[in-house]
Structures are given as C-alpha cells and as structure tokens.
C-alpha cells in the first residue's frame, strides 16, 4: 500500500531528517509512529499526505507516486482542522462539497466520484460518530472529543482507504482519549482502512499500532519497528502484556533518542 523508496528529506540548510529511508506498509495494516518532538513524525505524515515533497526519492501509495494530496487518503490533525465559521454539519459535508466543486477529475476527487446529494452520507456519518445532535453547532460550542469526532466523520465520509492521523487525541482528557482510541480501532476494522497514527503518547501507540515505527534522533536511515500483534483488541489495554509493551517501546525510544547506533536487543529492524 505504502512504499517509501530512498526518501531523503531535509529542511533548507539543515541536516536531513530522513536519509535514503525505505519503509513499507501493507494494505489494511494499523501502524503507529512514535517519537519525540522534532524527530520527524509530522514530516513523515505530511509527505505521506502529499502536503510536503521529499527532497529526493519517492513515496508510492497504491502504485501512485505521491506529489499532491491523494483523493482517497484521509487526514485528521490534532486541532484547528475544522472551519470555525461552519457548523458541524457543514464541516462534515466540506470534503463532499469540494469534490462536487471540482467534479470527478482524478486530481481533487476520485475518477469514480459521482456528484450528487450530500445530506444522506453526511447524516449517516454524523450518526455513526454520535454527533448528530451537534449538527447545527459551531466547533467552538462543542467539546474537544466531539470536535475530533467531527474531524473523523469529515474524513471518513469521503470513503478513504488510507487514514493518516497526527496526534489527534493529544489535547483530550484520558477517558475521552480512550473512548476515541476504541472508536479508531472499530472504524479501522469496519472500513478496512490502512492506518498510520502519529503520536508521542506511548499508550496511543501500543493500543493502536500492530506495528510501531520508532523515530528516535534523526536522521532516520533504517526504520526501527516493534511488532505488536495484540494491538486492536479492546481488552488489551488492561492486560499486563500491554504494560510490558509500553515499557519496551519506551526503552527503544530512549535508546534511539540518545544514540544513533545500530539497533540492539529486542528491536528488529524492518526491511
């Protein structure tokens, strides 16, 4: 589904964040990307979303080289993603309105997009995410958790096959965060989504990522991957294996943040 092929990315006059980096994600997989701030998590996601281009190398999603946002990739950000002047209903409808605005051109909307009435689909997703009672409110009038539900609904109404999330729950309190983690797991299964979830939060990463990409100190040359096959079960959160995995990810994160030596111990490099 996703192939990073010799991807190098460097900001102007800075050393590269990614240096001939290769990484692949299979269709339907749930990946978490964890790392400290400034370690290139968001850069990775922005490249994947087509909002930032690699300095060299290429990223292929579904056999297509990414040089602009791809219509079937959905993106959910931490905050400020909703239009403050539009109601929740209008925000959820936005992607479909943009598609109808351009028509099925294959660039802004998928070729098979049929311009048509928006309301039924918007209504279905408002209900699915439990925010249909908020449809006439503005983003500033609802809670952070509800805002993120609206952001997710707005993305899923476009029927993506790849969902990218950048710290989507960072601003939420613990119960709301767990609630939305569960919802993400459910939706990923239900919609058969490929998920790349970027976070600095250990629990987010271990609960959601069946594979966890650890981004330590840049530059990133080889992906450091931790297999976490139990992720995605709602009971996992209270099992001891969960806490052991959290400890392991933390250890790996510390290790790679302090040194740039080759991986050792329990960590297996991913080809």
């Amino acid at each position: 589904m996703i192939e990073f092929q010799n991807v190098t990315f460097a900001y102007t006059n800075a050393r590269p964040v990614f240096d001939r980096f290769n990484w692949s994600v299979e269709r339907g997989a749930a990946w978490a990307v964890i790392g400290g701030s400034g370690n290139g998590k968001t850069t990775l996601l922005m490249m994947l979303a087509g909002l930032r281009l690699p300095t060299s190398g290429q990223i292929v999603v579904d056999e297509q080289v990414i040089d602009r946002p791809r219509p079937r990739t959905g993106l959910v950000l931490q905050e400020y993603g909703l239009l403050p002047w539009a109601t929740i209903q209008q925000n959820v409808a936005l992607g479909l309105r943009v598609r109808n605005f351009y028509g099925p051109d294959g660039r802004h909307a998928p070729i098979e997009h049929v311009a048509g009435p928006i309301e039924p689909q918007v209504e279905r997703w408002l209900k699915r995410l439990g925010i249909d009672a908020m449809r006439a409110r503005y983003p500033a009038q609802i809670s952070g958790g509800q805002r993120q539900r609206a952001a997710i609904a707005r993305t899923l109404v476009l029927e993506p096959d790849l969902l990218l999330m950048d710290e989507p729950f960072a601003a939420l309190d613990a119960p709301t965060r767990e609630d939305l983690q569960n919802l993400t797991v459910e939706l990923q299964r239900e919609q058969n989504l490929t998920l790349v979830f970027v976070t600095h939060n250990l629990e987010d990463a271990v609960f959601l990522g069946q594979k966890i990409l650890v981004l330590g100190q840049p530059p990133h040359v080889r992906p450091v991957v931790i297999e976490n096959p139990q992720a995605g079960s709602l009971a996992y959160r209270s099992e001891s294996a969960f806490f052991e995995m959290c400890a392991r990810v933390r250890e790996s994160l510390t290790h790679y943040s302090l040194s740039r030596s080759t991986p050792v111990g329990p960590v297996t490099p991913h080809a």
Binding site: M46, A49, L51, P69, L75, Y80, G81, L83, R99, Q141
Partner: protein
C-alpha cells in the same frame, strides 16, 4: 451593548447640550429643541442631501471592499504578489491620501467620480492591510486539513479564504466609517450643490441659520450611525458563528 444603555446615554448627551445652551445663551449654540424644530422644518431639504451623501458613501464603501478584499486575499495567499506589492503598500499607507483631492479635482473636475474616488482611495488601504495580514495568519493546520480533502487553490478561496475574511472585512469597514464620513464632508464642502456637507456649510457660512446648521450636523451623525447599524446587521447575517453561545 443594551438598548437601554444607549437610550440613557443619548438622553444624557441631550441634557448636557440643553444645559450648556442655556448657560452660554448665544445663537451659535442653539438648544436641542430648536435644532429638532429646524430639523423638522427642513426635513425635505435635509432628506434630499442625506440621500445624496448616503449614496456617495455607500457606493464608495462597496467599491473599496470589492477592490481591497481580492487584493488583500491575493497578497496574503500568493507570496510573489506580496513581495511585489508590499513595499508599495508600505510606502503609500501612511500618506494622508486626502491631500490628493485637489489634484483629483484637477483631473476629473468637481464630479461625483472625484468624490467617490478619493473616499475609495482612502478606504482601500484601510481594508487591504488588515485583510492581507489576517489571511497570512490563517493556521497551517486548517489549510492542510482542507487541502487533504482535495481542495486546490480555487476551492481554498471559495471555502476558506473568502469566508474567513468576512469578520476582518466588516471590522475594517466599521473602523473606516468615521473616516469615510469625514472625507465625505470635506468633498461636499467644495464645488457641489448636493450633499449634507454642502448643506451644513451653506447654512453656517452663508445663511447664518445656526439651528439648521446643527440639524445638518445631526443628519450627518445619523448617516454614520445608520452605516454602523447596517454593518452590525451584516455581521449577524454573515458571521452567525461569532454570536453563537
């Protein structure tokens, strides 16, 4: 702001005026009652001038908004445009454009066009600069998430830049109303026979009818106030999200 507070303030101002007029006892400061009487007596005449002035200032504001908003959004969103025009705006912004009025009159004569042109010229920069700065400050998160929904530049203008500019356009127009009416007065004092500025000037300098002079001034104040109310109404229509609680 509550209606009751507005009424109390208005009555207080009238009371102070009344007391001052009684204390001063000169015909250049008539009482509010005398002015009200003059206002009613000359209502037909004042209305004629009021409509002329009102049309001038509204047409000027509409033209200024129609020119300044696209220019401001363009400069805010297209870095190359901003690089080219920002130095020009920087240089021209602080120049008091009113000094060009005599020159404009030399070119275009004592016409409606000259009057509207000078008001547009002044308002243009007062709207352009805040709209540009506001659109520069749109959060990248917001733009990125809308881009990820498939929006290119045209859709961003339609769904993000234009609606995001409503509040700042209305705020800058509100701040410009006072200036616009002041400039309007200045343009109407010379070379015209229609407009509240002309009426006020005529009544004071030529006719020595001080009550009517004040009535004209009151009409000019009402014009500014009407524009304020119009902008408030537009804001409630165009930016309902700012009033949602």
């Amino acid at each position: 702001m509550r209606k009751r507070d507005l009424i109390i303030t208005s009555l207080t101002v009238l009371l102070i005026w009344q007391i001052s007029a009684l204390l001063v006892q000169r015909d250049i400061l008539p009482t509010p009652l005398a002015v009200a009487q003059a206002f009613v007596e000359n209502l037909g005449e004042i209305t004629r001038h009021f409509i002329a002035s009102g049309l001038r200032v509204i047409v000027s504001i509409i033209i200024a908004v129609a020119l300044a908003v696209p220019a401001g959004l363009g400069m805010g969103q297209i870095p190359r445009l901003n690089r080219i025009f920002s130095p020009l705006v920087y240089l021209v912004y602080p120049i008091p454009k009113i000094v060009f009025f005599p020159i404009i009159m030399l070119f275009f004569g004592a016409t409606e066009f000259s009057k509207i042109l000078i008001i547009v010229l002044i308002l243009f920069f007062q709207i352009l600069v805040p709209v540009r700065d506001d659109s520069l400050s749109l959060r990248p998160e917001l733009l990125n998430s809308v881009k990820s929904l498939g929006a290119g530049r045209r859709a961003l203008f339609r769904f993000v830049y234009v609606p995001s500019a409503f509040p700042i356009v209305l705020t800058s127009v509100r701040l410009s109303v006072g200036t616009a009416v002041a400039v309007l007065y200045f343009t109407e004092v010379t070379a015209t026979y229609l407009g509240l500025g002309y009426y006020i000037f005529l009544m004071s300098g030529t006719m020595f009818d001080y009550a009517a002079t004040y009535a004209g001034a009151v009409a000019m104040g009402l014009l500014g106030l009407c524009l304020y109310f119009l902008i408030d109404w537009l804001e409630r229509r165009l930016c309902p999200w700012k009033f949602a609680t």
